[in-house]
């Protein structure tokens, strides 16, 4: 198992804030919009440097999406910012018609995704957003795993032409990816090569997958870990290549098991190479108040659950053989 260490921890939303500032410096067409959550979305540095390129819309997310769509006409590249729940479920029809169907170059940037926003509880903990967004034709869906990757992804989507959903979170998590990485949309990142089981993880679950890989290694299990940061378009080639080697799969995500990364992977496998697969995901339920760590344990999203899922997947593979 390749060794991953970290010296610093930060929230992925701060990676977004840093990436937005850099994207703004590189391209003066980049504009930002926010619905009364500047601090939560870490947009202060962008606003300080480019006050005329920032639009405060107030608590009116539907209006924000529409304004962003309109600003693309004239060449702007709008980044909208609010919580994941208000970025997707609340404004689904606005995104569907004014952004996706209209093919507008809007970047929908969503913080506080999943359970790890913690104490605010289920009203704010959306676990359906990946599914909602990936079902829209033409929408790119990205869920980076740490500060550095989120920063790189934010800069990359500014250069990509088309609608994007970028999902990140609130909690402080280890920074373990390269600060100078080039983010390639749709290209999976090989975290650790292995032979016994493929663990496909996205977002905050990538670090948990690394911890799980270390535990599995102690028991003599050689896990391949791949970071699927782009859920759509999905890197089917990387998935099939890995599965051809390992013969069984764990998918890990901070999302409902219905409609997320796991289902996207399952669809690729069903059509090309039916393979035993275990889901590490929320089991079709709402969240609740608690600390992020408590919630990740209670809802089965931590390293120990990935370890258990990996063993089960291997067992199913062996039974099949």
């Amino acid at each position: 198992m390749k060794k991953y260490t970290y010296t610093d921890k930060k929230d992925t939303r701060s990676g977004f804030g840093a990436g937005l500032l850099e994207a703004g410096r590189k391209n003066d067409q980049v504009v930002a919009l926010c619905a009364d959550l500047i601090g939560s979305l870490k947009m202060q540095d962008f606003i300080k440097e480019f006050p005329e390129r920032f639009v405060q819309v107030g608590i009116a997310e539907a209006n924000m999406i529409g304004i962003a769509a309109g600003m693309t006409i004239g060449g702007k590249i709008p980044f909208t910012g609010t919580f994941a729940n208000f970025s997707t479920g609340r404004v689904y029809d606005q995104i569907r018609q004014s952004v996706a169907y209209s093919n507008k170059n809007v970047k929908i940037c969503a913080s506080h995704a999943g359970l790890t926003l913690g104490e605010d509880g289920a009203t704010h903990q959306i676990l359906e957003d990946i599914g909602l967004m990936k079902m829209l034709p033409g929408m790119t869906v990205i869920n980076p795993c740490d500060y550095n990757q989120t920063k790189a992804a934010t800069m990359a989507i500014a250069e990509y032409e088309g609608p994007v959903y970028l999902r990140f979170g609130r909690p402080v998590v280890p920074i373990f990816t390269d600060p100078d990485q080039k983010f390639e949309i749709g290209k999976a990142w090989m975290v650790n090569e292995g032979a016994d089981v493929s663990i496909f993880a996205t977002g905050h679950l990538v670090w948990e997958a690394i911890l799980a890989g270390e535990k599995l290694a102690e028991e003599g299990i050689d896990a391949e870990i791949i970071n699927i940061h782009t859920i759509k378009p999905l890197d089917a080639e990387a998935i099939l290549k890995s599965v051809a080697k390992t013969g069984c799969v764990v998918t890990a995500e901070e999302h409902n098991r219905l409609g997320g990364l796991g289902d996207s992977v399952a669809q690729v496998l069903a059509a090309n190479n039916p393979t035993p697969q275990e889901y590490v995901a929320v089991n079709d339920s709402f969240g609740e108040s608690g600390t992020p760590e408590q919630l990740m344990t209670k809802y089965g999203l931590d390293a120990d659950h990935i370890v258990a899922a990996a063993k089960k997947a291997i067992e199913r593979k062996n039974k099949k053989a």
Binding site: G58, A62, I67, G70, I73, K76, Q97, S98
Partner: protein
């Protein structure tokens, strides 16, 4: 290029013929609101707006129009065709398979003249505001126009946008509401009262004008008046009083022709009332 009143009237008559023929041709679509707004579209595209039918999405240096109540697509399509955005023969494909003239307007099929999809109501005012903000950022002095149904303003997003535009001094925007008092289930007064529209928009901080929407001279006059009031810190809202189905006597003033196509006999009766001035497609 500004057409005179007589030319505008003739153009409007042909567009009205196109509308009833298009809706008849596919036995679906929305003739009522389309006929009521024909004078507005004609004035906008043949007199008021500075626009280039060699369509460019970003419209730098051009005035832009957004149709928010997308169901009145027949009047939009006919206007665009006569203005030179595409061949009027294509009007015959309205609402048919493989057509660029979808039931509701869309950019998806790359029809020149369309800059946003509309149909799901209430979204176009926000989009128009966004385009107006982009013009300001680009130092582009041209204007943004939008049209909305009166039933449409029952949507909540309209009022989010209504609050935003005056706060942000979006004064390069001229929006219009088609006040025909009708919606699918009946008169707006019965379905959900709109109340005092002038008082509402003024209270939100808009500069409000009234227009007789089926009087071409008044339509041109009020649109020019609206243009003269841009750049003064306030967005402009025109309350355009029209009759649904205007121009065809048996369609006038009734919500029953909101989304119903005429049969062969009714088509004949309608066309007898509308002079063919520019040649049918």
């Amino acid at each position: 290029m500004k057409a005179d009143l007589q030319t505008l009237e003739k153009t409007a008559s042909q567009i009205r013929r196109d509308i009833v023929r298009m809706v008849h041709g596919c036995q679906s679509g929305h003739p009522g609101g389309s006929l009521g707004c024909t004078d507005f579209f004609t004035a906008l595209y043949f007199s008021v707006m500075n626009h280039d039918p060699k369509f460019n999405m970003d419209a730098i240096g051009e005035d832009i129009f957004f149709l928010s109540n997308g169901h009145i697509s027949p009047v939009f399509y006919s206007t665009l065709a006569h203005a030179g955005y595409f061949d009027k023969a294509e009007l015959a494909t309205f609402r048919k398979l493989n057509s660029r003239l979808q039931g509701h307007p869309t950019t998806h099929e790359h029809l020149p003249g369309i800059r946003i999809a509309s149909g799901s109501l209430g979204q176009g005012l926000s989009v128009a505001i966004g385009a107006a903000l982009a013009k300001k950022l680009n130092g582009d002095k041209s204007l943004v126009f939008s049209l909305h149904g009166d039933g449409e303003i029952q949507e909540g997003q309209i009022w989010e946008a209504a609050m935003f535009a005056p706060h942000n001094h979006v004064d390069n925007l001229i929006s219009t509401i088609d006040v025909n008092g009708q919606q699918i289930d009946g008169p707006t007064k019965q379905v959900l009262s709109l109340g005092d529209l002038r008082a509402k928009w003024e209270a939100f901080g808009w500069d409000v004008l009234d227009m007789k929407g089926n009087d071409m001279a008044d339509v041109v006059r009020v649109l020019e008046e609206a243009k003269s009031r841009t750049g003064q810190g306030k967005p402009i809202m025109i309350l355009m009083h029209t009759e649904m189905g205007y121009g065809v006597d048996f369609m006038v003033g009734s919500h029953k022709w909101h989304g119903v196509a005429p049969n062969d006999e009714q088509l004949k009766l309608a066309l007898a009332q509308l002079e063919e001035t520019l040649g049918d497609y």
